[in-house]
Symmetry: C2
Subunit: 472 residues, 2 copies
Amino acid sequence: MSTTRDEVLASLRALLGEGAVVVEPHELERYEKGWRYGRGKALAAVRPSSTEEVSRLLRHASAAGLRVVAQGGNTGLVGASTPDGSGEMLVLSLERLSRTVEVDPVDRTVTADGGVLLSTLDAALAGHGLLFPIDLGADPSIGGMVATNTGGTRLLRYGDVRQNLLGLEVVLADGTVLDLMRPLRKNNTGFDARQLFVGTSGAFGVVTKAVMRVVPRPVQRVTALVGVSSGAAVLGLLARLETQLGEVLTAFEAIGAAALAPVFRHQPRLRDPFGGRPPAYTVLVELSSTLDPSRLALDDLLESALGEQLEAADGGEMTDVFPGKPSELWEIRHGVSESLRQEGEVLAFDISVPRSSMAAFVDAARETVAAGWPFVRFCDYGHWGDGGVHVNLVWKPEDAPRPTAELKAELQPRLYDLAVNRFRGSYSAEHGVGPHNQAFYDLYTPELVREVCRLLKARLDPAGLLGTVRLG
Amino acid sequence: MSTTRDEVLASLRALLGEGAVVVEPHELERYEKGWRYGRGKALAAVRPSSTEEVSRLLRHASAAGLRVVAQGGNTGLVGASTPDGSGEMLVLSLERLSRTVEVDPVDRTVTADGGVLLSTLDAALAGHGLLFPIDLGADPSIGGMVATNTGGTRLLRYGDVRQNLLGLEVVLADGTVLDLMRPLRKNNTGFDARQLFVGTSGAFGVVTKAVMRVVPRPVQRVTALVGVSSGAAVLGLLARLETQLGEVLTAFEAIGAAALAPVFRHQPRLRDPFGGRPPAYTVLVELSSTLDPSRLALDDLLESALGEQLEAADGGEMTDVFPGKPSELWEIRHGVSESLRQEGEVLAFDISVPRSSMAAFVDAARETVAAGWPFVRFCDYGHWGDGGVHVNLVWKPEDAPRPTAELKAELQPRLYDLAVNRFRGSYSAEHGVGPHNQAFYDLYTPELVREVCRLLKARLDPAGLLGTVRLG
């Protein structure tokens, strides 16, 4: 360990070539900084361009005792893809590991290198009338999506990465390449080793390749906004629409009034159908189908299903229905997070509860916040069809009696406790685990599970060199 | 270990009550015998009726060093739910652990005890317009389905048990109850401990309860048989129908001519649309929808899609299309296995390959068998939409030059080698692992995966008391 920094960098250059090693501070910055939160300090960023190079790099890092954090698109929100502040970690960037994108239309699969971006994948699949059904605001890499188990807005219909993953190639800390690439839909041969690497934030290995099952690409898509008078009514509408619309229901998102209003304030080119008076909840319903409109008229279907609901709605549970172009309505939905940031300080929570408890949880959370932190605006929106809710707490800096960090330290444990202990929910619905929520991982993970993770870590990364999260 | 059998039985009765312990040979037989294959010898069958009783029993068994095999519906095909021949194992039957069946229509989930049967679950869900989408010829229990990761004929549309599992309760060998019951669709908080118990044949614990995500129940279902001239043409038809029919395609099964003919020979009440001259492959296509026929006419859709294919088919690739009632066409499909058994000796293989390789694999397997074992009839059928194929080898006993056991020892390694090594396939597509295919598990499982399983076993069942499969 008496190796100097220059010696380390020289050995990395010798190993992978000059261009693979980034050290200049202004070039290094983007590898050190999280997409939205956090900032670390790296020894260097290293960019291998093949599985063999990843293997060589990790073997070398293991021998030299260098800590490594893998980074794909670096769009994560829990700090799992950026180095810590020590200045001693290597960032293993997957950005050059992005040559393979193979679509097999008969197999209905796509094989991609770990660094291939979602947008690249989507473009390749579109040409074959296929779709990788993970839909997000960000553009992560395949490797990062596996390590996070990405979900997104169409999970309701298509599931998450775990549910669509067929094959996987992983490089372990010592450079061993683990080939789990059989692209099989049916393969019941004992413990499914792929699961070690799904949603575990790179703690057990670096995902260098994956085979994903993909779906036929819809040829039509229709959307509408529905005004609903309460959270309970949102759940009622969800259950009834699922029964009525079944397999063509693709998304069911709900936006609370306090989360919706800022969108139209900060993005004036978006048309506000509610004329500045948003209902308690605005639901975005999307239907899509691979069947032709001549065969199945989705616009009619949605209009009549919502019309029926509007008519049957008891005591004004549903206030309005506005059909609209998918691109426009999704822009409203995707504009929420950014617009809230323009309103002041924001604390954002990525929570899930059993979806039948969504209304009760949101009400309880709102009351908790109102009682103790009356200057905070409670803004909630999310994937009600999947029990996922983004609770955003917003306040004007000048109204805050204490610094943001202190308020976070007060509010975070309260809301997580409510979700996890009272509503059997989760403190990280889709963002995964990383340094930003490590303390809550430690608090809420069953001891037996952590013990199993320690055993796994001791075998797969005995020196503890990989990643920035501690699962054991 | 000098305890006598009588002392063991007395202690079990003291623990769980007289009625929970079955020892009479004629009563014990059904717990000792596999559904289709195999027969062991049990010390006793014990039937706890609550998770607490399962916990008490396993704690006692651990202390006394008694080996235990859990048994649900006992419909498995690899010997994983029956005792070995030692006469020293306890069968832990889940049949009385079947009180809880709770449907939550807003959550769209069902919570069931480990011993609840698929048929019971289905009946409870039907009343709510919901469906647990695992479709099989057998009637397994929920616990057994999790331990096997059951697939079935509608996996193409709905996925397997793993993909529909939300929460899980498991009792470990030492009696510890592991509560992983949060019924969340989104919960990305590190290693997914549920995966330790899915498809691992009870080696790591006994599944006592599960929460499954269920789907809206279709209100219409249409089927047709399609005559196809080759395996390659079956794959072409599959890819084109998926593009055309997308989300309403529920099943795509193909039956080779040699597998179809015996159905009509042995089940004369079934009508043979091909008049005794079956095509190379008969494909059963099923569409289903939760939309009303007035909204989406599935019968029209299927007829026109297949008509279009028939017209476009090059050089007689598709020979015939016969629409028919789902119940009747499925009876033909489900009659294959039983009919082949009436033709003579049968060796059955449950194989999968990447689905784009189905035709090539089946051809290669057929050639292999014809070259070395000319007296064998090669009969194949299965889930082509999912890359699953049941290869059945059939011969008349009088034609066999050697005993069945010897022929099995020759043929099994050849076919598995072909599937696993040449076609990147699996020797157990959906039946799981157990004593019947342990040797192939040992042969084909990556050493690292077995090593991980040894670590897991050492923690979760250190004395090796649970189950009859050895994953490490």
